[in-house]
Amino acid sequence: MSSLLRVTDLARDYCGHTALTGVDLALERGSVLGLLGPNGAGKTTCLQVLSGNLAPSAGTLSICGIDLVQAPLRAKRHLGYLPERPPLYPEMRVDEYLEFCARLHRIPRRQVAAAVSRAKSRCALDEVGRRLLAKLSRGYRQRLGLAQAIIHEPDLVILDEPTEGLDPEQIREVRLLIRELSAHCGVILSSHILPEVQEVCTQVLILRNGRPVHQGRLASQREQHRSGAFRVRLDRPPPIAELVRLPTVASALTGGDGLLRIDLAPGLPPSALARSLVEAGYGLRELTPERTDLERIYFETLGLDPGPANLPSAPLPQDQSGPDLSAVGGAS
């Protein structure tokens, strides 16, 4: 059986400048691919080529086994695309716009009303059906952009920064929608928000200067948390052999700059690790959850300084060495 999306050695040039090169991809139904990279890395160009808005300079691209370059009309029937800026017509009303999109995607006239109703319901647009697009808030515009991308129930949905401009509640709803979509189709999304990609994507492609620099599957959140890795800074660090004898420590490594990387023993909360380090009198100064899998990969791949992690850590117990603990506030 052929892949939902198969891309081989895809490249795109602009007047001699290479914007994208060497992209190979295979996406199956049920997968969510996160496209990452710094600004100017070629993410939007890649999505424009995948959506048929730009022709590739080299390489092959097929959706549901149909070559997008050779048979674009047939291939695009399986495709839904939300560009970076939702493609809206301000003079239209929501219902009118979705009806137009449905016709554009060649939904038979008799099924248009049902398709519009379904798309509005999925994107929580039921209450604004009669509203002019020019009067919609940014969040509604983004949701309407999503609705037009899924109105024809495509097999492949391409979303360019879908949560841009949304409030936290709307972001949560969009993530839920993406998960729901991925149950029966493939999704490609680009985003600058690493935790978002970590949460909803099953695989990731990192681009830099138009070239793929990392590609692979992502561990799920549960697997991430199960790993329980922490970065620890101690005033009086013991030898590693002594450290691993603590019942809360599964393994430990010495990092640069006096940092230790400690893996928490399975089944224990982070507070147990903090307590055991304090009680052992090592002078706990910092306890930070290790970066998520994706963040580590992203920063390592791009050769950037990761900085402090941003995941919440467990509350620390009081230590006899009083002043030491005042520095623990950094463990957040």
Partner: protein, 245 residues
């Protein structure tokens, strides 16, 4: 699909102020011209009238309507492709299963539909004289056909210019540039040499004149059809290439 696209353009033209402002401006200017023609004609003694009222109206009112149509077509056409690219909605059409030819024809039909309203203004003005004077319907039909064919040509040029840029302003200037070139090329021919008929033939107004005096010639119909098709083909080529460059 072509009708879906044309219908959207038609509705957009009537829902935005631009379409109505253009219609109102054309109506006001043509109404004024109509009254001027009537006043001049009725002010003359019968012996001094060299041509009939229908021909006067045809040459002045329909001729002026063609000039207004030349100005209106690029204004309406500029938002078709350039405006869509500027606003970011072009990617909706780019990702949809719509052939470039359908896209061009859909937009073109929508544009022509709006401009046809402008072409009907002189007819409506002339109809106000029904019962008062006897106008030559054949001559008016010929003039209206000429005006409409010229408008089809202006719309095709406007659409082509709109496909050239993502900036509606640039598209507008490009369209006016091409149309002015087609307007003055006949004059250039006369300056260079009296024997070069090609320049006269290229000029759109030379062909319109025959319609305005009541002569419907196949060569004039062919001229407008040929250049309309040429600019639509160039638009198609341009849009197909834009995905490549």
């Amino acid at each position: 699909m072509i009708l879906t696209l044309a219908g959207r353009e038609w509705r957009a033209g009537l829902l935005t102020p631009l379409g109505w402002v253009l219609l109102a401006a054309n109506q006001a200017v043509l109404g004024w011209t109509f009254l001027q023609v009537l006043e001049r004609f009725t002010g003359l003694e019968a012996a001094k009238r060299s041509v009939g009222l229908t021909l006067e109206l045809s040459l002045n009112l329909w001729g002026f309507a063609a000039a207004l149509s030349l100005l209106s077509a690029p204004l309406l056409a500029a938002r078709m492709f350039a405006g869509e690219r500027h606003e970011g909605s072009a990617s909706l059409l780019g990702a949809a299963p719509v052939a470039v030819a359908e896209l061009v024809l859909g937009k073109y039909l929508g544009l022509v539909g709006l401009l046809t309203l402008v072409c009907l203004i002189p007819v409506l003005l002339a109809l106000t004289l029904t019962g008062a004077v006897g106008l030559d319907p054949g001559l008016l039909a010929s003039a209206t056909l000429g005006l409409w064919l010229a408008t089809l040509f202006f719309a095709a040029v406007g659409l082509f210019a709109s496909s050239l840029s993502a900036q509606p302003g640039v598209a507008l200037v490009a369209a006016y540039g091409i149309l002015i070139l087609f307007s003055v090329v006949g004059q250039a021919g006369r300056v260079l040499s009296r024997n070069i008929g090609l320049f006269d033939w290229l000029s759109w107004n030379e062909h319109l004149l025959w319609f305005l005096i009541g002569a419907v010639r196949l060569s004039d119909i062919a001229y407008y059809s040929l250049f309309t098709a040429l600019f639509l083909a160039l638009t198609h080529r341009r849009l197909a290439n834009r995905r490549l460059v």
